[in-house]
């Protein structure tokens, strides 16, 4: 009794069934099974199974090479078509470039607003801490007693600094303007890893109450605008509303504070804690300190710090209520503060995900405005693609014969659609290349005509390039959709019998037959082309078409001489297949 050969693993067999191997399925499955059986006897079933999976994977990968070759051929065809019709190519590229360029320019602005990295050291480690009050408002401030608790108990988990943004009337170099700035801790710059372009950043001694005034670091932009990059700015006295300070340095270029893009920081002043010097006074409780910014210590996760914060907040609330109980005489007042304390929470936000640090729940661009802008520029692209699609459809009429021949030779609708779409994507890529130049120009104009204090540095980075390529592919597919649908509807028999073949307009001839296998089949190998044409004639005859083509032997050139094909035919050099088919269809040709 013979033993049954081992079978390959079921999963492998299923995966093999799903592989796209067209007409090779039968022999491929048998080949792989053969290999498995041979290996199972020589190297064991387990190793044979592993090799079987490797083989299945290689069979899966096999069609990719074929697709790549098809894609390469289609792209070459697209480039050839572009070269043949330079006027059309230039017109299409310009129209598409406008659509793609405007979209890319808008995306580069959005990219800068939403995805640009903070110009500080390790921004992934940073987080902001807020206070959510009883009314549900989120504020970038915390109570001093809570910050003290954080400082004392959270040192092992994170370092902290604080900042508080405010617009003040800043008088410097004999000019007064309202400028946004931040009161900050003296460790602010070291904490963020930001240095000074000239002078120095803030130091621990700058916060001393005994120090004359406070130390001020100005932004590079402010230094350029107000002092025209004069190093003599260092040491000058500035006035912030009623207080005076001394400029000690200029922040490095590109650093515009931990704020939103619309209100970049122009100055940083020490003394944030001096502003709440009366912290020791217990009542009233409306004094706050600025918003804490934390940097997680190595190995500490965001979630771990949140867990620590939850415990700390609970204990801090309890301590606070116990203290208030002794300090507030009125039961009604105490109840009010108890409710307020119970409702207070301290949400944490990752710095990399917070584009509006002083208003974390605000939107950097109002949703309606953003949607409107996106809709308008998308419409521009859509109009451009619709225009090009129309032009391609018009050109598609001239390519009916080419499509018909390809379909007659066995190309499916999907393959033809892929070809036409690849051609249009190549065209869109040409448009995209010009579009990038348009986008670059638009971004340059945007930068030139926006206020210098605008905090967004719009640049064309890799994300913008990826977007532009995606836009090109999207536009190309959209543009190619209409010609692909048009090609799918081509009536092969009618197109071939009408003699509309080739992408070039037919030459004028004194006597042109309705179907000429010499002309119609010039793009294909002789036997296949001839069979195709004759198949078309045969089909027309079978469908009751009028036998109106003159015999090939009777075709004459304009000069009246016999054609080479006619000569060959008279000399009996026609392939036997042609003779056979002609014999079959009687007097049609």
């Amino acid at each position: 009794m013979s033993t049954r050969p081992p079978k390959p693993p079921l999963l492998g067999r299923v995966l093999l069934k799903l592989a796209r191997v067209r007409d090779h399925r039968e022999d491929v499955e048998a080949d792989l099974t053969d290999l498995f059986e041979t290996r199972a006897t020589t190297m064991g079933r387990t190793r044979a199974s592993l090799r079987f999976f490797v083989d299945v994977f290689s069979v899966w990968r096999w069609p990719l090479g074929r697709w790549a070759r098809d894609l390469s051929a289609d792209m070459k065809q697209g480039l050839r078509l572009m070269r043949r019709g330079p006027a059309f190519t230039v017109a299409a590229a310009i129209v598409l470039s406008l659509g793609i360029g405007v979209n890319t320019a808008l995306f580069s602005v959005i990219n800068s607003l939403f995805f640009s990295e903070l110009p500080v050291k390790a921004p992934d480690e940073l987080f902001y801490l807020y206070t959510r009050n009883e009314a549900g408002q989120v504020m970038a401030i915390v109570q001093p007693s809570f910050l003290t608790e954080l400082d004392e108990r959270g040192t092992a988990l994170a370092d902290l600094t604080t900042h508080w943004r405010i617009p003040l009337r800043l008088t410097a170099n004999s000019l007064t303007e309202t400028e946004y700035g931040e009161w900050v801790d003296t460790n602010y710059f070291d904490f963020l890893g930001v240095g000074a372009a000239i002078g120095r950043t803030l130091q621990a001694g700058d916060a001393d109450q005994a120090a004359p005034g406070f130390a001020v670091v100005i932004s590079h932009d402010f230094w350029t605008r107000r002092f025209e990059n004069d190093p003599a700015a260092i040491g000058q006295t500035v006035r912030l509303d009623a207080a005076f300070g001394t400029i000690v340095g200029v922040a490095e270029p590109g650093f515009k504070g931990l704020t939103d893009p619309w209100t970049p920081t122009q100055w940083w002043a020490s003394g944030i804690k001096a502003n709440v010097a009366r912290e020791g006074q217990p009542y009233p409780f409306r004094r706050y300190i600025g918003g804490p910014v934390g940097r997680l210590k190595p190995g500490v996760s965001f979630e771990q710090y949140q867990a620590f914060l939850t415990t700390l907040v609970s204990e801090w609330k309890q301590q606070r209520l116990e203290r208030l109980r002794t300090q507030i005489q009125s039961p009604a007042d105490f109840e009010r503060f108890r409710r307020s304390t119970a409702a207070t929470s301290f949400p944490m936000h990752r710095a990399t995900e917070t584009r509006m640090p002083f208003n974390p729940e605000g939107r950097i661009i109002p949703t309606g405005l953003l949607a409107g802008m996106v809709a308008v520029v998308a419409l521009v692209l859509l109009i451009a693609t619709a225009n090009i699609a129309g032009l391609l459809m018009a050109r598609g009429v001239a390519r009916t014969g080419e499509v018909a021949v390809r379909r007659a030779l066995g190309a499916g609708v999907a393959r033809l659609s892929r070809q036409l779409m690849t051609e249009s994507v190549v065209l869109a890529m040409a448009g995209g290349a010009v579009g990038l130049f348009v986008a670059y120009t638009l971004v340059g104009l945007f930068r030139a005509y926006t206020p210098s204090r605008f905090a967004v540095d719009v640049n064309l980075d890799w994300r913008v390039l990826v977007f532009a390529v995606a836009a090109c592919i999207g536009a190309g597919v959209l543009v190619g959709l209409a010609p692909a649908l048009q090609a799918a509807r081509v009536n092969v028999l009618e197109a071939l019998s009408n003699g509309v073949v080739g992408t070039r307009p037919p030459r004028r001839r004194a006597c042109r037959p309705r179907l000429s296998y010499r002309r119609d089949c010039r793009h294909v190998d002789w036997p296949v082309g001839a069979d195709t044409c004759l198949w078309a004639i045969d089909g027309r005859a079978a469908g009751g078409g009028r036998p109106q083509s003159p015999p090939i032997q009777q075709r004459r050139t304009r000069a009246g001489g016999a054609t080479a094909a006619g000569n060959r035919a008279r000399a009996g050099h026609r392939p036997s297949g042609v003779r056979d088919v002609r014999a079959g269809i009687g007097g049609l040709v």
Binding site: V21, H24, E26, D27, V28, E29, A30, D31, L32, T33, D34, L35, T38, V54, D55, F57, S58, V59, W60, R61, W62, G65, R66
Partner: protein
């Protein structure tokens, strides 16, 4: 293909390539190469008769065309010429 006789199929080719080169060759890579050679007209393929040993499944038998053979000989000639030139120079 020619080294394996008048006609052969994927599995022997894959095993032959592994033996000859001493390196693993995936069956998919062998199929891809055979397909490309067939597209170029260097090989032709046809299905064999179904046999009971493969569960009734046919083999796709490949054989070398005259063009393929000519091209292979030409390649060999060119290679030998190049090596001769190298040897003469060294």
């Amino acid at each position: 293909v020619r080294a394996l006789g008048e006609s052969t199929y994927g599995v022997p080719v894959q095993q032959f390539v592994e033996q000859a080169t001493g390196r693993r060759a995936s069956i998919g890579a062998v199929y891809a190469a055979l397909e490309r050679l067939e597209e170029k007209g260097f090989l032709r393929s046809e299905f064999s008769e179904a046999t009971a040993t493969r569960g009734g499944k046919r083999k796709r038998l490949f054989s070398v065309t005259a063009l393929g053979l000519r091209t292979a000989k030409e390649l060999r000639r060119v290679r030998e010429q190049i090596w001769r030139t190298i040897e003469e120079q060294s």
